[in-house]
Amino acid sequence: MKYDLIVIGGGPAGYLAAERAGAKGLNVLLFEKRNLGGVCLNEGCVPSKALLYSAKIYDYTKHSEQYGVKVTGSSLDQEVVIKRKNKVVKTLVTGVKGALKKNNVTVVEKTAKIEKKSSEGFVVSADSELYTGDRLLICSGSEPIMPPIPGLLEGYQKGFILTNREILDLTNIPKTLVIVGGGVIGLEMASYFNSAGSKVTVVEMLDRIGGPIDEEIADLLRKEYEKKGITFNLGSKVTSFTEKSVVFEKDGKTLEADAEKVLVSIGRKPSTKNLGLENIGVETDKRGAIVTDSMGRTNVAEVYAAGDVNGVSMLAHTAYREAEVCINNILGKKDVMRYSAIPSVIYTNPEVASVGETVATAKQKNMDFESVTLSMKFSGRYVAENEGGNGICKVLREKNTNRLIGVSLIGNYASEIIYGAAMMIETQMTVDDLKELVFPHPTVCEIIREALFSFNE
């Protein structure tokens, strides 16, 4: 049996690509070594949202009084939270399986290895069985970076140190939680366990949290969480892990934070080891990421790669689009991947969302731009629903083209609003065009409309 396409990895990139290709009549084989749905669905984006929603409801009960609602005796039952999370994951994984089946994708839940390119096509092995396909799409994803810090490996083996995978299955709320890495995963877990009652300490190497997000917004978010009791150690470098603490250097001093559990979330790296890439000569860069062009092609003809494995954006929604670009090109429809309008969200409370350029990146690119920052209080709905909220919206306009190039928001619903901004940026409509759009009222997203009218003419 020879396949038109062999997909390696059943995460967002892999399963979507397989679905799309199957729908177009290609004979597709998909390999998944762990769980269909990948990290996103099983141990990342989706399960964390289930947890965070429980936390949000719990938070509401604790802060409801200022809205005139008295709640007494509310508590969070972590076991129920995890059970519900598992149910959500199961529902969605079942959905993925169903979609693959519907599109006639053959799924093999085994570890695949590329063996060679023969005259028949690409040969892939799994459990000593051989499979052949005309083309390959590699979607092997990424894994947490675990640097060689003393005590890390031992701590991980003992279950004292966790990654995103294990922390989402904790059925007991640790009294103290130290989170190494203040990026998206770190902040979301800090948010959850803070709400759930842990004493949370974040240790971050950079002097700011949130990675590439707007600096002002990162500051606001940090202050918000400091008020809620999270301790942030910025500019701090972890030097070792003991059996019950994390040791780090900050401002030249050695400090120690006690921890019942530790989450290491300092970033992820492309998973390209043991795939057999070298057997067909697929080029990888020094981080191990597969090098692809804008059409998703690798250096080897008929071998494509999409998702975290190319190391470019490492977001599930980027992976979806990359997968579609690959499939379109495989089907002979030219399609190119654009990274200029990829939204990113941190599901903290308040949420942070951004798309396109920030002031820092626009400056770095020498763009001719102006930036408008508005308080979310310009939105009626925001004021009605957020006692004491101090969210902001920042919108960047490129002057010489009169188009939006970046939007950053902090405030609830930001996650759901941002796609609209992404559309504005992606389609390169001018600010004058955008001013003609009607926004529903009263909504939080109106803040973007407000910003459009705040630019200098």
């Binding site: 005309d134 089907l331 002979g332």
Partner: protein, 464 residues
């Protein structure tokens, strides 16, 4: 059934019966011709037409035809203008008697002169106002648009200034407006002001639109080949020529059709230049020299040899010959966009190292597409090299108005007898094409011989 009957009745009633007027259609010439372009009207509206009079001339991509009148009468109306691309079998004009109603003959979308249209003053005013709002740019006098296309543009509310003109002489015709109306302008709003409708960009935006970044990256011609896949059922691809390809096609065809080209081949012992190149290569760093190639050496030798054979370093326009006292060497470069021939000016005055550096620089600029157009003209002689592709001899085509071109071929091992011994050596072929209208065979052969001698004794030549 009822419906079809009523249609029949309607047609009959309009075209036949009491009406005498007769329509003349755009004929279909062959099965594959979908439409023809009106090249000339020989009769004007209102003219008296006799049987056998030529009404209009029209053309397909291959031939031109005249349409004769088959009845006599007055040319009551014409529906298309010169330059319009008219689908076959559509009504072109009406012949009849003065005063006859011809409104039912108008093909959908064709231009009917204002006078024939029932005008309601108010409506017209509103329409005109709307027109001035929506198609302001069409008032631009440079804009060539057929009335039919303009009509459609007004109806579909598209901005004609963004139509991609495909009609004769850059005229916007109906299909251009149809395309624009169907797909919209494939440019993002923000990119519109900088968009040049005559340029071609590599569109990377949403839905294949041209983005601000695409325009900033500049005009590109290389078409990225899309991986052919199983789902691709067409067994061929069709692509419109890029401008550079059109120029090449025109120049090459003109060259062959206008000149009397004659190619002669010779080979020389390349041992001398190969030794020289090896020596330079070994000392490149120490002497700060460029990576001098065999081609650079040939360019150098040709430049030094040409001035003793000025008929080959010349321009010929059919009337007079212009012999140059300097050698401006055209060097053919293979680029992703097609053949380009930049010029090394005053090549005879330059050192081998300078030539090598300059050729590399020019080739790089040609390949990236940012060569100054001035450097693509002014050559007095051209060298083209297919040697590294294993070609042993070929017939280079002269770049007009030059009188000769030298093709450099690959190395082949030959044997020769030297002091009674059989000895292998590397021979390199040269293919010289001359314009026999102005250069005769023997003088050309003498140049080739001198060139071979110089190349075989390259170090001696350097000493000269």
């Amino acid at each position: 059934m009822l419906e079809s009957n009523s249609v029949q009745f309607f047609v009959h009633n309009t075209n036949g019966g009491t009406y005498m007027a007769t329509a003349v259609i755009m004929p279909r010439q062959g099965n594959t011709v979908e439409s023809c372009v009106v090249s000339k009207w020989h009769k004007k509206k209102g003219d008296k037409v006799n049987i056998g009079d030529i009404l209009f001339t029209y053309e397909t991509d291959k031939a031109t035809f005249d349409e004769e009148a088959k009845i006599e009468g007055i040319l009551l109306e014409t529906f298309f203008e010169e330059g319009d691309d008219v689908p076959c079998l559509l009504n072109m004009c009406v012949i009849g008697e003065l005063g006859e109603d011809i409104s039912s003959f108008s093909p959908e979308g064709a231009t009917v002169k204002e006078a024939e249209k029932p005008i309601e003053d108010k409506k017209e005013e509103v329409k005109k106002e709307a027109e001035s709002l929506t198609v302001q740019k069409s008032e631009n006098e440079d804009l060539k648009i057929s009335p039919r296309a303009k009509n459609l543009a007004d109806k579909t509310n598209v901005d004609v200034t963004y139509a991609n003109a495909t009609g004769p002489n850059g005229r916007i015709i109906e299909r251009d407006i149809q395309a624009l109306a169907k797909d919209g302008l494939k440019v993002t709003s923000a990119a519109k002001p900088a968009y040049d409708q005559t340029a071609s960009y590599n569109a990377t935006g949403i839905g294949g639109r041209i983005t601000v970044e695409d325009i900033r990256k500049g005009v590109v011609t290389p078409v990225e080949t899309v991986t052919v896949s199983v789902a691709d059922t067409q067994d061929y691809t069709e692509e419109k020529l890029s401008n550079i390809r059109k120029v090449i096609a025109k120049t090459m065809h003109a060259s062959i059709s206008q000149m009397a080209q004659l190619t002669m081949n010779a080979a020389f012992d390349a041992t001398s230049i190969m030794n020289y190149r090896a020596m330079v290569k070994n000392n490149t760093e120490r002497l700060g020299l460029a990576n001098i190639t065999i081609n650079d050496i040939v360019v150098y030798a040709v430049a030094k040899t040409l001035l003793a054979h000025k008929d080959l370093n010349a321009h010929f326009n059919g009337e007079s010959i212009k012999r140059f006292n300097k050698v401006h060497m055209g060097v053919a470069i293979d680029t992703p966009r097609g053949l380009m021939v930049p010029t090394v000016f005053n090549c005879d005055m330059k050192s081998l190292n300078d030539i090598s550096l300059e050729v590399k620089d020019l080739a790089g600029k040609c390949k990236t597409g940012n060569i100054n157009p001035d450097l693509l003209t002014g050559g007095t002689f051209t060298i083209t090299n297919l040697g590294n592709l294993g070609v042993e001899s070929f017939t280079p085509v002269i770049n007009p108005p030059q009188t000769a071109i030298l093709g450099v071929c690959g190395l082949v091992t030959r044997i020769k007898e030297e002091n009674g011994q059989i000895k292998p050596y590397q021979a390199m072929g040269l293919s010289l094409t001359i314009d026999h209208r102005i250069v005769d065979g023997a003088p050309a052969a003498r140049f080739l011989k001198d060139l071979c001698t110089n190349l075989e004794n390259f170090e001696m030549m350097l000493a000269k």
